[in-house]
Structures are given as structure tokens and as C-alpha cells.
Amino acid sequence: MAASTRDTDVEPTRTRRSASHTRLWGWLLLPPAAWMMAFFVSSIIIVVLLSFGHVGPTGRPVFGASGANYAALWNETYLSVFLRSVVYASLTVLLCLLIGYPVAYTIALHGGRYKNALVAALVIPFFASYLIRMYAWSTLLSDEGLVNQALRWFGLSEGVRFLNTPGAVVAGLTYGFVIFMVLPVYASLERMDLALIEAGKDLYHGPLRTFFAVTLPATRAGVLGGVLLVLLPALGDFVSAQLLGGPSTFMIGNLIQQQFFESQNQPLGSALTVVLMIALLVFMVFYLRSTDRQRRES
């Protein structure tokens, strides 16, 4: 009887290197690892240690072992700053997603010949000074700035107060970080098999349904990456609130900066920094978990 065939197994990927080889590469790890230990890990440790210290009589920070700084943070004002920061950052992420996804989608799927040029056009503004762009926004949006002048000229409105509002802060953050959403989503759309979209339509899903049932899930990794890349800087930013914010738009970043450069209370600033790090760690763990699960499934 003819030899039977079975489904060939998916071939396992493997790395094949001899031991001596590995040792050689191991030495290469030494300088960068030493550098990171000396300048990054140790500095984070100092922040954590100092967060348990206090300000000495001469105004210098002193190490200690008291939780007073953390206790001080547990009051309504600081909590509301945290809450506000999280809300602003979340809104920013949402806006970046709502704006960034369609843009990435259009460039990736309908960019055609101009695709590379469009990506370049996307990146260029982000290499022009962040501060200057933010400042340009503040002049553009001011009550007698160009935007309001244009509105008045078209007779659309008697002037809108854009600047110095929570909306302006979130808009500034969105403007600043939307590229971190567009690029990973674009990359994942580029990697996606376009036949998937056709398969969705083939199976009786209209364009919109296909998008939600097929395209979006297929680019989940890019979206998650974008969310993380936007959330991290948005939560730590202090420039947008400073340049575009109003009296009640203080964020964690402003608070930390205030403690270090205005009040000169470094231990309290360190405690704030630690809390911020912990908050971000929670998001990171969540992200790693979900990507890890994806990887394990493959």
C-alpha cells in the first residue's frame, strides 16, 4: 500500500550556536550592561531611597527611612492631580487612537506610490523642536491669535477661548504624541495580510463591519504598542500643561518639576516620581502580559 503522508509538523525555530560562540558575545554585553548599571539602575535606586528622606535644615536633601513623603501625598490635592493626570493621559490615548488609526490606515492601504513620502512627512515635524511647536500652538490659539482671527473673519464666532483650558492641554499632548500611535499602527497594518480584508468582505461583511471584525483585531499588537507609547510620555509630561494649561490643569509632571525646582523639596519630588513609576509599571505589566500571551499562543 502506498506510503501514507501525515500533516508535516510546523518546523520548530531554533537557534544553533556553539558554546564558545556564546561566550564571545557574552563579553560584548559587559560594557553596555555596566553603563546601564552605573547610570540608570543606580539612579533609579537613589530616587527610591531619597523618597524616604527629608529636607535638611540647610535646604539639602537628607536620606532617611520615613514614609512621611508618601503620607503627605495622601491628601485630596495630590490625589486630584493624579486623577487629573490619568484622565488627561487616557483622553490623549483615546484621541491619538481615533486620529492616528485612520491616518495610519489611509497611508498604509491607500498611500500607493506616496506612501514613503507620507511617512516622511509624518516624521519631519516631530524632529522640529517640541517646545517651539507647543509655543507656536499657544500663539495660534490665543484669543487674538490666527485661529480666532480666522474664525472672526469668516464670521463663524466672536472668538473662542481655546487656550488655558483642559482641552488645550489634552490637545497639546495629542499633538505631541500622536506619531507614537500612528507609527506602530502603520507598521502593523503594513504587516497585515490584505487578503484578510477581502476574506471579511467575501464572508458577507460590509466595509465597516469588516474593519471592526477583521482589521482592528488583526492590528491589535500595533494598537497596544501605540497605547503604551502614548500613555508613558503623556503621563509624565509637564510642558503641555505649562504652556497651554490654565489655572486648574496641573499634572504630575508639573508637580514633580515644582518640587525639584521651585519648592526644592527633592525627597517629596522623589516620592512623586516613585508613585508615577509604579503607576506606569502597572500598565507595563498589563501590556507585557497581553503581548506575552499572544507570543505564547504562537
Binding site: L28, M36, E190, M277
Partner: protein
């Protein structure tokens, strides 16, 4: 007469004597037929908004008045002022030095890291390697605060050096990620082929691996240069008595009263970055790659 082997007629059989064009690679269609007008319009609007403040910066850099909200007439006085402003110029110089040194330093360390991460599979080294990637996901304000405390804690005077150290620490990860992406796309076989052809392990790196990752090095170098040049937060926390990096100077001006000379600075910076990007697009082509540095930046 000929023996027609399957479809000798269909395409010129790639005979050995006549050079043939590369086999028609299976193309993947990369676009969908029919353009949704709304999406295109939305994207166009997005680009308008994206460039609006930049247009304003460029426009007002040519304003004859100090005002940033009403344009009076064309003048180059702010460029003249910029090129006569020693403080601004020395800041520009400082920024260039910082970016240049940080670029070289992080390229060296980051490439080492990428090579090691790609090749070493032992557990402790992997943990070490992962730690080196943490700065990538740490908000700059945290890194900045930590660096400031580290330097003042160790009694190191803040200077250009401390800015450079902080910027390198922060950039290593970028280089490592980009170079590693290139390395992992490269088949192990290439290195083994070099060994097979008589290279020692070191020669294999020098003669084969480094040339192969050159485009990634160029791309990540330019990226780091641009990021560091524009970085404000880290520089703000770690700068000392030396001339302040440009972004820090801009920040201290913005907090008080800004001079339109800053718009001139911004316009110049943007010109430089456009040149850099164009360069990073072109350089890989010089090495004959179809992928460009931009793909690497965008993670494509």
C-alpha cells in the same frame, strides 16, 4: 528543434548565458482598490493641523515686529539677531556637541548590546539586556529626576558631560532596538558563510556583520542625533554651567518672554532635520537597500 520543458515558451528560460532580470518576485498587493474619500480627507486635514504650527513658526520668523500674533511685514531681522546672539549660538554649538557625542557613544554601546542580546541566550544576560531596554518605556521626567539625583548625590558637577551621559543612557535602547531588528532579520547563515570562507569570529563581525547592519547604524545614529538635539527634559535636569543646550535655552525664554529669534532658530532646526531625514532616506539607497532608514524608524 527544441525540447519544450514546461513553459519554455512562456518566458525566456533563464538560460545561463543570457543575463536575466531578477525572477519576477511574487508581489504582494499593498493597496486596496477604491479610496474611501472620507479617510483621505481626514488624513489631509490631519496633515494640515500637523503642519500649522510649523508654518506659523516659519512665517513669524520673518515678521518685522516682535509680535507673535500679527504679521506686519517681511524682514530677516530675527535671523540677523540669531546669528549675532552669542548665547543662542553657543547653545546651538553645545547642542550639536551633545548630540554628536551622544550619537557616537550610544551607537557603540547600543550596537554591542544588540549583538549580545541577539546572540546570547543565557538567563542572567537576558535579564541584563532587558534592563537596558527599560529607559525606552520610562517617562523622561523620571529619567531626568533620577539622573539629577545621581549626579548631585555623587557630587558630580553638572556640565555638558552630565547631559551627554544622561542622553547616552537614554539613547542606547533606541540603537539597540533598531540594530537588533536588523540583526534578527539577517540570516545566521551569513555569519557562518564567513567562517566557512576562512574568517575568525572577529573577522566575521568586521567583514560581514558590520557592513550588513550599516544602514541600521546610520538610521539609528540619525534618529538619536535628532532626538537628543530636540530633547528638553533630560537636558533641563542635567545641564550645568556650560552653555545650555538649545531646548533648555528656549524653555527659559518661553517661560518669560520669547523673542521671535526663537522662531528663526526653530526654522533652522527644522531645515536641518529635513536634511537629516532626507539623508537617512538616501543613505540606505547608497548601499543599495530597498528598505530605507525610515522603515527602521517606523518599525516597518
Amino acid at each position: 528543434m527544441t525540447t519544450l520543458d514546461a513553459a519554455a515558451a512562456s518566458s525566456a528560460t533563464p538560460s545561463a548565458t543570457t543575463p536575466v532580470a531578477p525572477a519576477p518576485a511574487r508581489r504582494r498587493r499593498r493597496s486596496v482598490e477604491g479610496r474611501p474619500r472620507i479617510a483621505v480627507a481626514f488624513t489631509a486635514l490631519f496633515f494640515v493641523v500637523l503642519y500649522l504650527p510649523i508654518v506659523v513658526v516659519v512665517l513669524f520668523s520673518f515678521n518685522s515686529r516682535k509680535s507673535l500674533s500679527s504679521f506686519e511685514s517681511f524682514s530677516t531681522r530675527w535671523y540677523v539677531q540669531f546669528f549675532n546672539d552669542d548665547a543662542l549660538l553657543s547653545s546651538l554649538r553645545a547642542s550639536l556637541v551633545i548630540s554628536g557625542v551622544a550619537m557616537v557613544g550610544s551607537l557603540i554601546l547600543g550596537t554591542m548590546l544588540a549583538l549580545a542580546l541577539e546572540r546570547v541566550s543565557s538567563r542572567p544576560s537576558r535579564i541584563l539586556g532587558t534592563t537596558a531596554l527599560v529607559p525606552l518605556v520610562t517617562p523622561e521626567i523620571v529619567t531626568g529626576v533620577a539622573a539629577l539625583l545621581l549626579f548631585t548625590g555623587l557630587g558630580i558637577k553638572l556640565s555638558l558631560m552630565t547631559v551627554i551621559i544622561a542622553e547616552i543612557t537614554f539613547s542606547i535602547s533606541y540603537v539597540a532596538v533598531i540594530v537588533r531588528g536588523r540583526l534578527s532579520a539577517m540570516s545566521d547563515d551569513v555569519e557562518e558563510a564567513a567562517r566557512d570562507l576562512g574568517c575568525t569570529p572577529f573577522q566575521a563581525v568586521r567583514l560581514v556583520i558590520l557592513p550588513a547592519i550599516l544602514p541600521a547604524l546610520v538610521a539609528s545614529g540619525l534618529l538619536v542625533f535628532a532626538l537628543v538635539f530636540d530633547d528638553f527634559v533630560l537636558a533641563f535636569f542635567t545641564t550645568g554651567v556650560d552653555p545650555q543646550p538649545l531646548p533648555v535655552r528656549i524653555y527659559s525664554q518661553i517661560r518669560l518672554s520669547i523673542s521671535p529669534a526663537i522662531n528663526a532658530v526653530g526654522t533652522c532646526m527644522m531645515l536641518v532635520s529635513i536634511l537629516l531625514i532626507a539623508f537617512s532616506l538616501v543613505v540606505p539607497r547608497l548601499f543599495g537597500r530597498r528598505d530605507s532608514g525610515l522603515d527602521l524608524i517606523s518599525g516597518g
